[in-house]
Point group: D2
């Protein structure tokens, strides 16, 4: 059994991770931490039957875990990752702290300098569909953000083929759990219910950095990719608890037709257990993927134009966070990648 | 035009009151206060086109209003009511501070002594269907609570007839706006959505005091009412923005049949513009009353038993708060009672 | 008092229209029809206190109304409009049947030939912000669609200035009442709740025809407008009862800067009572406009790019249907345009 | 591997059952039927990646299944159960057809005569917490209704102790999936959203028969139980997709105190893997049990009165239907009772 520790278990990604690990056949939960609720039990904090104790991070026996998951806010995660790594555990960090390879880019978007540049150099971006081989032996995996997971998987076959050019619009809609488990007026029921709110539109949301890094990396696998592209990313707060739908608008290069595009997606995702490529005529909806670790992708071509509309959905707490973390753990520990993620 | 001031306009009852007064044909808004947002404009705080300035209470020209509405938390309201009254305005207080005639009962339920006993002695409980004649000349009206409005109107004909006896169960369900406009984890979208939570059950919710006061007063209009009765009040947090449904279970005295009960309700509410007595076979639902100042009441008799089930719904922000406040203002200023409340 | 008849009152736009007319100070409801519920009363069909009888259309005294509103499905509306017009009433048709000036375009999008080409030639597209002068004397007004209202008002200042060019993306999200009041699995609670579904994407939704007609007409007010433009319209079914948000992506021509764009919107909408132009830094949300006849418009410029993001919201049942119909009636009968629409 | 066939897989309980069986480690899905969608694949009917073919019942190889689950409407299930049983499969029927031991009572509540009285005599009511020993060897298990599961588990310890007397009120609230997957106006999004509707109140809902049968049977384990009791059952349609909360009001007999009641519940449910007895001070909410096979039970005593309030929640599709069916299968086939139900 893999002994797993979870740092910051009392947020929405933390509890989702707990549930996945608790029913995972090859994992045993070693310890849990929560700074806000240390000394209490999980059932004091969530409506659940599990009485596991919650420790302060300082008390957690880091060295008694084979793998440590961190569900902390950005910046807070850096020193905790370093401590868990120093204690000998393999680390899966769900924060943004180790996702961007370039510390300067991190500082630009997150406003704080990176305190662990040596560790950052070792971190692997934990999107198995792109980086499976690098994740397997990694000691530190940076679990992707929720919006980036939906956007990158939705566009990666185009990037890889060199077909991403010009302006790409990502009109994304996310359930409220994406904003975290905290008391905040804008996330309160009456404010979010029966509402839909664009926010951070106009090249300002931090997740743009991940999308650019990963999609540019895919493009650079090609020789002579020259054409520039730019993402316009518009997140919207959606009155559902969970799920992300990204509606992506791409102008295809001249000569690239529907058959070529469908073939590129089919080739890239043919053997992916968690990518559900929809047949022609179908679009992705939240119900395709909520409560699963899947990403569903639909392709719609606007007749008589070079416009491709990609619809891409995930459950933001599972494929967009904790399920993907377990998927990464499975890859890192040599398990079947779907173990504990079938339900 | 009646010049109206509103103290505490930036909560849910405050903004609802603003909207009603803004479109009321006989009212002009004189000034608005908000301690948290003083110096801003209404449109900075709510998604609306109205740019009225928000004052601190200390700056408000209390003497330039014919009527002052207070939408403050309990305890905070007492001194503000006294100040508005001293400035010469007629006062409608939406807090709980002047609803209970007995200062000792107030202290028992709200945990603070009453600081304005002289004013309390003048206050009228502002449920027009019960106290219209006393409201008309009043200088201080205590607007009822939301749950009590639904429960008292649902049971008053029984109380008046002397048919309230034994244990009466009020299983009430309220939308989340009833909890106020504040950042609180239990009111956050993800916690309340797709959920239903009983809370404060077992004779502990403060609104019980109002229900007992008013229903006992109705009973005391009869000679020789002896039988004791007791309310069991169970509020539930419902995943809707607004609306209250109270499902009320009453055991009728021997010899009181369906026809007699229907006659009692019909007699009491025949001319009430805001009570919608449903025909036999119908039950009250939230959709009967949301976005209106009405209370809908349905009567269901359990065959072969003395059990009567009363279903009673209101919009907690309108008939349960701000609409009722405007109804009281209409009564106090000699206007048609429905003015500005038809929409 | 204007005597108003309503044909097809038992759908969502019909009942909303009833409520508006019922509280309108210058209107009296003359008669109501409903083919499905003829012989019943309004309170049998909706949870409301109004007992107005419902007639079959064949029984309705068309000649006893000054104005007739039609809330029928497309195609069914054509003969009923003709009958009401022949009976001498001024007509406001909420269906799509008289919105498209060109009968061939109508047939192309709606699949049926137009049976009333002579009447079609007289019909005015009832968007008062664009066609107020033509609406005032009209005998037949075609009330705009809900999506088109949000998109056309969001883009009209650009069209009028000649700045609409290239591909314009309208990513629109609508509440479920837009799909009408009928039993249909895709509109059922469990299918739509906690979901978000794109539908009719890829140049297939019928409302595109209205958007093109009206925005092209605005462009043609200019000399020498040559650049072509094309709309990509993506509707999404949103888990709310009412409200539309259109997120519009426009590439501005070289040399058109933020100040010029803001000036164009300010000029066009300066005196419009129902257009709420948001200050810089704000985006439109559903809560800006639900339960009102307003359209809220926000302008966001993507730094360092020619991309403008317009956010535009309305209540689909009010400004997108019945409120706009009453606004048209006010214009047609010489009333203040806001009469009965303030609430 | 247990070979499982599912009859009527395209309703909400059917698809939930499919998901549970699909990830169950000891089960293989043999075949699926759907009368409405025969000839299609599961992914044509639900947003999912599973392409299993859907057969008409007449084509299903009944004899190639070890266990057959039926998710049909009542009355339709009787002949299908008989056919599956005759083909040699063990049968778990999720309809109401075999839940009531007395064919006359069945006919009284369901309005049709029972066509399979011999089979009815063999059927076991499939609530494992009450009838585990009888379920294990059974060939035909009648899976309980959703409301009855929440009410019976909430009251069984009282019934067994002989403390159920007088009037017991069950004020129950259910998510909309309980009404089935069909196009029906009352279940449409706009009708159910932001609403709460009592229905079938006043001793008229069919689930009362199950509650009386099972709770009376528990009482009859005692000698000399004489006091009569009666249930008043009030279902309400709740604007959530899934989950039931029953708020149960019981008047305890003289001399029965809180300690005794808590001991009775603790004793009955001590070793139950799927009953979560909450500590004093907590109430059951939907979030305790949705997406799990658990029933959560909270006990609240009204001070100074003999009134006990039991709050009991389940997921209506899992513990109230398909999860309980899998739990029954586990018991029948000698598996650990929690197999495939941990997630």
């Amino acid at each position: 059994m893999i002994k797993a520790g979870v740092i910051g278990v009392t947020g929405y990604t933390g509890i989702e991770l707990y549930k996945l690990l608790h029913s995972h056949p090859a994992t045993a939960i070693a310890w849990l931490t929560s700074e806000n609720s240390a000394g209490q039990r999980l059932s004091d904090v969530f409506p659940c039957p599990w009485d596991d104790p919650l420790l302060a991070l300082a008390e957690a026996p880091l060295d008694r875990a084979d793998v440590v998951f961190l569900c902390l806010p950005h910046a807070a995660s850096m020193p905790a990752v370093a401590a868990a790594h120093a204690a000998g555990a393999r680390v899966i960090d769900l924060s943004a702290d180790f996702r961007l390879h370039d510390a300067a880019v991190y500082q630009q978007w997150y406003g704080v300098p990176h305190s662990e540049p040596a560790l950052l150099a070792q971190a692997v971006y934990g999107l198995p569909e792109l980086h499976r081989a690098a994740i397997a032996p990694a000691d530190l995996v940076a679990n992707p953000g929720c919006y980036p997971t939906s956007v990158i998987l939705g566009l990666a076959p185009l990037a890889r083929a060199g077909w991403l050019a010009g302006q790409v619009i990502a009109d994304s809609k996310s359930g409220v759990s994406g904003a975290g488990r905290k008391a905040k007026l804008s996330n309160s029921f009456v404010e979010a219910n029966e509402n839909l709110s664009p926010y951070s539109i106009g090249y300002s949301h931090r997740h743009i950095a991940e999308m650019e890094q990963e999609l540019n990396a895919e493009r650079q696998t090609l020789d002579g990719v020259g054409a520039d592209w730019r993402i316009v990313f518009s997140p919207h707060l959606l009155p559902v608890s969970r799920g992300i739908l990204s509606t992506l608008y791409v102008t295809l290069p001249a000569g690239v037709d529907e058959a070529a595009v469908r073939a590129a997606y089919a080739e890239m995702y043919a053997d992916e257990p968690f990518v559900h490529l929809l047949p022609a005529g179908q679009v992705a909806t939240l119900h395709h993927t909520v409560y699963s670790n899947r990403c569903a992708i639909g392709l719609t071509f606007v007749p008589g134009t070079p416009t491709l509309i990609v619809t891409s959905t995930i459950d933001n707490l599972i494929k967009g966070a904790s399920g993907q973390a377990v998927q990464n753990m499975n890859v890192m520990f040599g398990l079947d990648e779907t173990t504990g993620l079938n339900a």
